[in-house]
C-alpha cells in the first residue's frame, strides 16, 4: 500500500513546468513565513526590551517594585501572579478534566459521549472577554458570598494564607475562571490519548475479571500517562497566556500576592491594562520585557507538552484545541 503513496506529496511529479515552480515558490514563501514569524516575534520582543535588560539585568525578574514614577521596574508581582493563578487553575481543572476524559473515552455510551464532547468544545469557543464579563458580574460575587466567605471564617482564622479580606475579584476568582477556560483543552487531549490506548490492553484486564476502576488505573492511565501530562501542561500553557478574562476578574493590583483572596495582576493583564498609557522608553520596554518572559514560559511549556502528547498519540493531535 505504501508503495503506491506519493512519499512526499507531489514532489518528484511533474513540477518542472513554470507555473508549478511558481506555485512551489509561492506556497514555500508563506510556509517559510510561519517559521519566520515565530523567530520575528521572539527577536522583536528581545530587541524592544533591551533597555530594560541593560538597566536592570536579571534583577528585573526578581524585583518586587513596579514604579513608573521612580522608573523602577521589577517583574516579580506579575510572574508570581501568573504562576499562582495558573497553578490554581491546574489544581481545579486537571482532576475534573481527567475524570471527564475518562468518562467520555471509557464509560459513556457513544450517544452520550458525542454530544458531551461537543458541548466541551463549545466551551472552548466562547470568547475570553465574554467569560470575563460573566466572571466579573456573576461568578465573582457568588464566590465571595460562598467559598471565600466560608474559607476565611474557618481556615482563614488559623492559616494566614486563607485569611481575608475578600473582594470577589482577585487571584482566586482568576484561578477559577482560568480553570473553566483550560478544561476543554485538558479534556479533549486527554480523551484523545486515552482513546489511543490499544483496546486489547483493556480487554485483557476485563477478561481477567478486573473492574473498570482497576482497568483504568492499572492499564489505561499508565499507558497514556505521558500524553495526559502533556495535555495538562498544554492547559497550563494556555492559562499562562490567557489575557482578557483574567484581566477582568483579577483586581489589577500590582503586588506580590501573599493570600489566596488577594487582588493581583498577571503578566498579560499588566500588559493589557497599562501598555497603551505607558510612556515610550523604559516603561514600554519593561512591559515588552514582561512579554518576553511570558513568551519564554509559554513556548517552553508548549514544546514539552507536544513532545509528550506525540509520544502517545502520534503527530497532529490536539491541534484544533491547542490554542
Amino acid at each position: 500500500m505504501t508503495t503506491l503513496r506519493r512519499p512526499n506529496g507531489l514532489r518528484g511529479g511533474s513540477t518542472s513546468r513554470l507555473p508549478d515552480r511558481v506555485m512551489k515558490a509561492g506556497s514555500g514563501l508563506f510556509a517559510g513565513g510561519v517559521v519566520a514569524l515565530v523567530v520575528a516575534i521572539g527577536l522583536m520582543l528581545a530587541v524592544s526590551s533591551r533597555v530594560t535588560w541593560s538597566t536592570f539585568g536579571l534583577s528585573f525578574v526578581t524585583g518586587t517594585d513596579w514604579d513608573p514614577v521612580a522608573s523602577i521596574y521589577g517583574a516579580l508581582p506579575f510572574i508570581v501572579g501568573t504562576l499562582v493563578t495558573s497553578l490554581l487553575a491546574l489544581l481545579l481543572a486537571a482532576p475534573i478534566g481527567l475524570l471527564t476524559a475518562i468518562f467520555l473515552a471509557e464509560l459513556a455510551p457513544r450517544r452520550v459521549a458525542l454530544p458531551l464532547s461537543f458541548l466541551v468544545e463549545l466551551l472552548a469557543a466562547i470568547p475570553s472577554v465574554v467569560i470575563g464579563l460573566w466572571g466579573v458580574f456573576v461568578l465573582s460575587p457568588v464566590l465571595r458570598g460562598t467559598v471565600e466567605d466560608w474559607v476565611t471564617h474557618t481556615l482563614g482564622t488559623v492559616v494566614p494564607f486563607f485569611a481575608g479580606p475578600t473582594f470577589g475579584v482577585g487571584i482566586f476568582a482568576a484561578g477559577v475562571i482560568l480553570a473553566i477556560m483550560i478544561l476543554p483543552t485538558i479534556v479533549a487531549i486527554s480523551r484523545e490519548v486515552i482513546t489511543a490506548v490499544p483496546l486489547s490492553q483493556r480487554e485483557a484486564m476485563l477478561a481477567l475479571g478486573a473492574t473498570r476502576w482497576e482497568t483504568v488505573t492499572k492499564v489505561v492511565l499508565p499507558y497514556a500517562a505521558s500524553g495526559i501530562v502533556g495535555a495538562v501542561i498544554l492547559g497550563l500553557g494556555r492559562a499562562l497566556g490567557e489575557t482578557m478574562a483574567v484581566t477582568m476578574v483579577i483586581g489589577n493590583k500590582t503586588q506580590v500576592p501573599t493570600r489566596l483572596f488577594d487582588q493581583g495582576q498577571t503578566i498579560s493583564s499588566q500588559i493589557a491594562t497599562t501598555f497603551n498609557e505607558a510612556s515610550i522608553g523604559l516603561q514600554t520596554s519593561s512591559l515588552i520585557a514582561l512579554g518576553l518572559v511570558l513568551l519564554v514560559m509559554t513556548i517552553g511549556l508548549n514544546v514539552v507538552a507536544r513532545l509528550l502528547v506525540r509520544r502517545v498519540a502520534g503527530d497532529g493531535v490536539g491541534m484544533a484545541t491547542g490554542g
Binding site: 506556497s27 508563506f30 514569524l37 475524570l99 464532547s117 463549545l122 466562547i126 473498570r212 476502576w213 511549556l301
Partner: protein, 293 residues
C-alpha cells in the same frame, strides 16, 4: 463493551473484598459522571446569563447608534461595523496565506522542512495573543504614530494563519491519494492538480477550518487593544484610523461604573456569542463523530 463491563461486577460480588472492589468501582464511575457534568455547567451558566442580561439590553439603539461622544447612551453600531470590517480583511489576508502554507507542507516540502514548519505553526498557536498585539504594534502602529484598523486586521490574520494551515493540511491528508495520482498520470500539471483535485475535494473541510478561525478571530480582544484601539466613532472603510470592535466594546463598557453601560456590554456579548456559537454549532455539527477530537 460497556455491557460486558457492567455485567462483570454483578457476577463478581461474592466475597467481602469483591464487594469493596465493586464499591470503589461504582464510586469511580459516579465521580467521572459528576466531573463531566461539572464540565458543562459553566457553558450553560455563561450562555444563560448572557442570553438573559443581553436580551434585556438589546434595542434598536444598540444596533444602530454609535456611543455618545460624552456620557452614557448610544449603542454598539461602531463596534459591530468595526468587527465585521476588520475580521473580513483579516480573513482575506489569512485564508490564502494559510492555505498556501498548507499546500507547501503537504505537497512540496520535504519531510524535514514540513516538520519544522508544522512545529512553528504549533508554537504560533500557543503564543499568547496579546504578544501578537505588541508585535504588530511595533511594526504597524509605532512607525505611523497612529493606532489603525489595518494593524488590527493584521494581528487577527497572524492568529488565524496557523489555525487555517493546520486544518487545511489535515483535510488534504484525508483526500484519497489515487485522485491526484490519476490526474498526474493523465499529464495534468501539479499546480492544476492541487487546485482542481486536492483542494476541490477537501473544500468543505478547508471551509470548516476557515469558519472556525473566523469565529475565533471575531472574539479576540487582546491583539486589538494596541492596534485598532477601539473608537467611539463609526468608521467605515478608513483602515488608517482607529476602529472599534465588539470584544473591545464589551471590555471597555464592562469596566465602566454605570449600569447602563454594563448593560450595553451584555447586549454586545449576546451578539458576539450568537455569532460565535452559530458558526461553531453549524460547522461542528457537520463533522460531529467523523473523527474523535
Amino acid at each position: 463493551m460497556t455491557a460486558i463491563a457492567s455485567a462483570i461486577p454483578a457476577t463478581l460480588v461474592r466475597s467481602r473484598s469483591d464487594r469493596r472492589r465493586s464499591i470503589v468501582d461504582r464510586t469511580f464511575r459516579v465521580l467521572c459522571l459528576v466531573a463531566a457534568i461539572i464540565c458543562v455547567v459553566p457553558l450553560f451558566a455563561v450562555i444563560a446569563y448572557v442570553a438573559i442580561n443581553g436580551a434585556g439590553a438589546l434595542s434598536l439603539d444598540l444596533l444602530t447608534k454609535a456611543p455618545r461622544a460624552l456620557g452614557i447612551g448610544g449603542g454598539a453600531a461602531a463596534a459591530i461595523l468595526g468587527s465585521i470590517q476588520m475580521v473580513l480583511v483579516a480573513a482575506v489576508l489569512a485564508i490564502p496565506a494559510g492555505i498556501l502554507a498548507a499546500i507547501y507542507v503537504s505537497e512540496f516540502g520535504g519531510r524535514r522542512s514540513a516538520t519544522v514548519i508544522r512545529f512553528a505553526a504549533d508554537v504560533l498557536v500557543g503564543i499568547p495573543s496579546i504578544l501578537m498585539g505588541i508585535f504588530v504594534f511595533t511594526f504597524l502602529v509605532l512607525p505611523f504614530k497612529q493606532y489603525n484598523a489595518f494593524a488590527g486586521s493584521v494581528a487577527l490574520a497572524l492568529l488565524m494563519i496557523p489555525v487555517i494551515m493546520r486544518t487545511t493540511e489535515e483535510m488534504i491528508r484525508l483526500v484519497p491519494k489515487d485522485l491526484p495520482e490519476a490526474a498526474l498520470a493523465l499529464g495534468v500539471p501539479a499546480w492544476r492538480t492541487i487546485l482542481s483535485i486536492v483542494l476541490r475535494t477537501g473544500l468543505t473541510g478547508v471551509l470548516t477550518g476557515v469558519m472556525l478561525a473566523i469565529a475565533r478571530a471575531a472574539g479576540e480582544t487582546a491583539p486589538l487593544l494596541f492596534t485598532a484601539l477601539g473608537s467611539r466613532l463609526i468608521n467605515v472603510g478608513d483602515f488608517a484610523k482607529p476602529m472599534d470592535a465588539l470584544p473591545i466594546f464589551i471590555y471597555v463598557n464592562a469596566r465602566q461604573p454605570y449600569d447602563a453601560l454594563n448593560a450595553q456590554a451584555w447586549g454586545a456579548a449576546l451578539l458576539l456569542l450568537l455569532f460565535v456559537l452559530t458558526v461553531n454549532i453549524l460547522v461542528r455539527a457537520r463533522t460531529l463523530g467523523r473523527r474523535p477530537r
